[in-house]
């Protein structure tokens, strides 16, 4: 164990490529991280994506941090956002414990496996997989439709046993909306794989949770979005512990990211009615395409 006055990395070499970054005062990077995350938070809300999915590819592509710490911080960014939003969504019935708990349990277990896998694989392989995953997310964002109130003729047996049904007040119409779910086994399988992706890449998983709940299991869009937040709060907790216990969380990266993203998200929520959501969404898709392509190229040794 080294004391604070002892250079921790006395033997570590600084290569020519690393020297310029090292020459910049250390605090510039966390400050820059805070500023970037603040703006990511602003655009994440109107774009309808969680902060984590923007954070990991962009920060790993353009900041000098090892991917391990970026993924650890990405999970904490997504976790903090979910923890901030979760309580009020639960209280008004837009998040549902009976829907979220079974799915979160499956995805929590698989997110631990994903985190272990991500930390065990070589960096280049993870970057390639991250690039492919980000480009896949863009495809989901472009192609996946949304159904405000899906038609669910009957619940399946699993949904009946688990009590996956409820009612919420639609803010727009003021009407009570009764809903129920179906295709629960398919949903459980999907959430297993969503958990692996969330843990492996530190992405959060709202981009996948919402379509799975809405399009596959038949949850109304608002219930899907609200329950996704509750599920994220449990799934990202499990994966975050794996990163923490493997030394893959650096406070100097995680803390400015969390605070910047949360402050930005508060501004983004207030600007929701002013900003043109479709334009922001196109901007986010372009950013993800760029960041995903860059991760792929760096992983393949073609640039970066």
């Amino acid at each position: 164990m080294l004391g604070s006055s002892t250079p921790v990395l006395a033997a570590a070499e600084v290569t020519g490529a690393e020297a310029p970054a090292a020459a910049i005062a250390w605090w510039i990077w966390p400050l820059g991280l805070f500023v970037v995350c603040f703006f990511l938070g602003i655009i994440a809300v109107p774009a309808g994506v969680g902060g984590g999915v923007l954070f990991v590819p962009l920060i790993s592509g353009f900041f000098p941090f090892h991917l391990d710490y970026v993924r650890g911080a990405g999970l904490l960014v997504a976790l903090s956002s979910a923890l901030a939003a979760g309580p009020s969504l639960l209280r008004i019935g837009l998040a549902n414990l009976r829907v979220g708990l079974p799915l979160a349990l499956i995805a929590s277990i698989s997110s631990m496996l994903g985190a272990l896998l991500g930390l065990a694989l070589p960096d280049s392989i993870v970057r390639i997989a991250l690039g492919v995953a980000i480009l896949g997310i863009v495809a989901v964002m472009i192609m996946a439709g949304k159904t405000e109130l899906p038609n669910v003729p009957a619940s399946d047996r699993w949904a009946q046993v688990l009590g996956m049904h409820g009612v919420f007040i639609d803010g727009a119409s003021g009407q009570a909306v009764h809903w129920r779910l179906h295709r629960t086994p398919q949903g459980l399988v999907l959430f297993f794989f969503i958990g692996i992706l969330a843990g492996m890449f530190g992405l959060g998983a709202g981009w996948a949770n919402v379509p799975a709940l809405n399009l596959v299991m038949g949850a109304p869009l608002k219930v899907a979005a609200g329950s996704s937040s509750f599920i994220l709060s449990l799934v990202d907790s499990s994966a975050a512990w794996i990163y923490l216990n493997n030394g893959a969380v650096l406070p100097v990266i995680a803390a400015p990211s969390v605070v910047g993203m949360m402050l930005g998200a508060k501004i983004g929520a207030r600007l929701l009615s002013v900003l043109k959501a479709s334009l922001i969404r196109q901007l986010v898709i372009a950013m993800l395409l760029f960041a995903g392509g860059r991760a792929l190229m760096v992983g393949l040794g073609l640039g970066g």
Partner: protein, 136 residues
């Protein structure tokens, strides 16, 4: 207008999560301020951070120690390690709300959801225990 009744366990979960979540966030921010203002000396000197954050987590653990497997809990007098306490609280803050609603499920005879809550807590405890860990 038909006002739906929110299940009491959901209300309790929301309340507990609100308090535990904000406590974790406040601890994270407070500890980070202690770290960056230098009130407590860090385990890793700040001027070495530009080299530290380029290393894989396994390399950092081998060189500096302190970051992995709860070793940080013995170094809470160091600013950076104290910040990890905030992160740990944030990562574990869902466990208390889960335990708080288990009681409601049990009293109602809903053993399935009581078991789901306890299983979820067990997963969090397993993740936090450090028993599940790898290196590169």
């Amino acid at each position: 207008m038909d006002t739906p009744e929110i299940a009491p366990e959901q209300i309790r979960y929301a309340e507990w999560l609100r308090w535990s979540g904000w406590f974790g966030l406040a601890l994270l921010v407070g500890a980070f301020l202690v770290y960056v203002t230098g009130v407590l000396l860090p385990h890793v000197p700040v001027d070495e951070l530009p080299r530290v954050w380029k290393l894989a987590s396994s390399e950092l653990a081998a060189l500096a120690g302190g970051h992995a497997h709860w070793e940080w809990a013995l170094l809470l007098h160091k600013g950076d390690m104290l910040s990890l306490l905030g992160i740990a609280v944030l990562s574990g803050c869902s466990a208390l709300p889960l335990l708080a609603v288990t009681d409601i499920y049990l009293r109602r005879g809903d053993r399935l959801f009581a078991a789901l809550c306890l299983l979820q807590v067990a997963v969090l405890v397993l993740a936090a225990s450090g028993l599940v860990a790898v290196g590169h």
